[in-house]
């Protein structure tokens, strides 16, 4: 088994110099915007900033924390934590970075409180009487825009007869 190595100070000083250069690069790209990448806050600026941050973290982990001079087993354990973080980011962001992502937060427009961007006009997540409908087994009928919320409001206690009439037994207009 390899002896625990003592890293000479010159490695630390050189590493500090590299970190300083990366720090300067971060500031120049991020704030001074020397290459005029600021049009999209989530675009190339973000990629450059994160890339430089990963480079700095690599310098700190490998030299200051001595992973570059450690045994393979220690290196594997050290990298496993960061690998987990990458997996977390990748799999979580795939849930959100796609057109059909369901953000699960109620939509609210201060200028039009009754509006909803979702088809059927329902608010997500289910609220109030809609939750009771689902729990009781009755078919859930989304309200129409802002008006539906007033029609669907009911008392706290269940009324199965009234619920059956409202949702499943009332003939539709097309049957006449």
């Amino acid at each position: 088994m390899a002896e625990h190595k003592i890293v000479p100070p010159k490695y630390y000083v050189i590493n500090m110099g590299v970190l300083g250069v990366l720090m300067l690069t971060t500031v120049l790209f991020g704030k001074l915007d020397i290459l005029n990448f600021s049009n999209n806050p989530n675009g190339i600026n973000l990629a450059i900033a994160l890339g430089i941050a990963i480079a700095k973290a690599t310098c700190i982990v490998s030299i200051f924390m001595g992973v570059a001079f450690a045994t393979k087993l220690v290196r594997l354990v050290a990298l496993s934590g960061f690998a987990w973080l990458i997996i977390l980011f990748l799999f979580l962001m795939t849930d959100y970075v796609n057109p059909s992502a369901d953000w699960g937060t109620p939509y609210y427009d201060a200028n039009d409180p009754g509006a909803s961007p979702l088809p059927g006009g329902q608010d997500f997540p289910l609220t109030g009487s809609e939750v009771q409908d689902v729990k009781s087994g009755h078919e859930y009928v989304p309200p129409h825009g802002g008006e539906g919320h007033e029609e669907e409001e009911r008392a706290d206690s269940h009324d199965e007869g009234a619920a059956g009439e409202d949702h499943s037994e009332e003939p539709s207009e097309g049957d006449h």
């Binding site: 625990h4 003592i6 704030k31 806050p41 700095k56 354990v77 987990w84 973080l85 980011f89």
Partner: protein, 228 residues
């Protein structure tokens, strides 16, 4: 890579202490290193959750994040980053001084590390006070100037993330101060650590470097979103 310096007298035990269930000192040291990295892995999980929450909301509200970041003090953030990187250097030098048995340097670098950390927290206090005075502290004093933000309600979310992430980072720094104070006593007074016993110092260094790494990611993600 070993140094030829004669260790200072009285620094740590005269011989390395190897527990009976280890074959060699190297095996003992490697085991301890793995244990420390497993601790750091759970710290990665802790901060990873915060970073992922940040990423999700930044993706959803990019303009809000842009506006919120524009009112953070970029100069103080840069100063904090430089201070913390310097403290990582002094911490690494402290570990080296312990490994080669230089007592005065060991204590000096350890004190310097903690002092730089105190500078970092002092700057953080200035930033937080400034945010409070301008009504940008959610839950305590959220009263931004009218017209400052396009959507004050969602910008409040940015500041919630800012205070939680930097607050947890500062909390970890404070924990580091406590541990560092104990180590200063053990090194300066007790001369507990030396060439035959330096892993505790090295592991405190790991903790400090990890806190530095977290700030290395926090700085660009919070302070460098907007440009002039």
């Amino acid at each position: 890579m070993s140094e030829a310096h004669t260790p200072d007298v009285g620094m740590g035990p005269a011989e390395p202490i190897v527990s009976h269930h280890y074959r060699t000192r190297e095996q003992q040291d490697e085991t301890a290193l793995i244990g420390m990295w497993l601790f750091l892995a759970q710290e990665i999980m802790f901060f990873g959750g915060l970073f992922v929450a940040y990423a999700v909301y930044r993706y959803k509200y990019p303009i809000t994040w842009y506006e919120g970041s524009a009112h953070l003090n970029f100069t103080l953030g840069t100063l904090n980053t430089v201070v913390l990187l310097a403290s990582s250097l002094t911490m690494a030098m402290c570990v080296y001084s312990t490994q080669v048995g230089k007592w005065k340097q060991q204590v000096m670098y350890l004190v310097s590390t903690i002092a730089l950390g105190v500078v970092f927290l002092g700057v953080k206090v200035i930033e937080y006070t400034d945010k409070y005075n301008h009504g940008l502290m959610p839950g305590i004093n959220w009263d931004p100037d009218p017209g400052l933000f396009t959507d004050p309600a969602r910008t409040q979310l940015f500041y919630v993330m800012y205070f939680i992430m930097t607050g947890m980072h500062a909390f970890h720094m404070i924990i580091g101060f406590g541990i560092g104070a104990v180590f200063i006593y053990l090194c300066a007074v007790k001369k507990e650590y030396g060439p035959n016993k330096y892993l505790p110092i090295e592991f405190f260094g790991f903790y400090w470097h990890f806190v530095d790494i977290v700030w290395v990611f926090l700085f660009p993600m919070l302070y460098l979103i907007s440009s002039p």
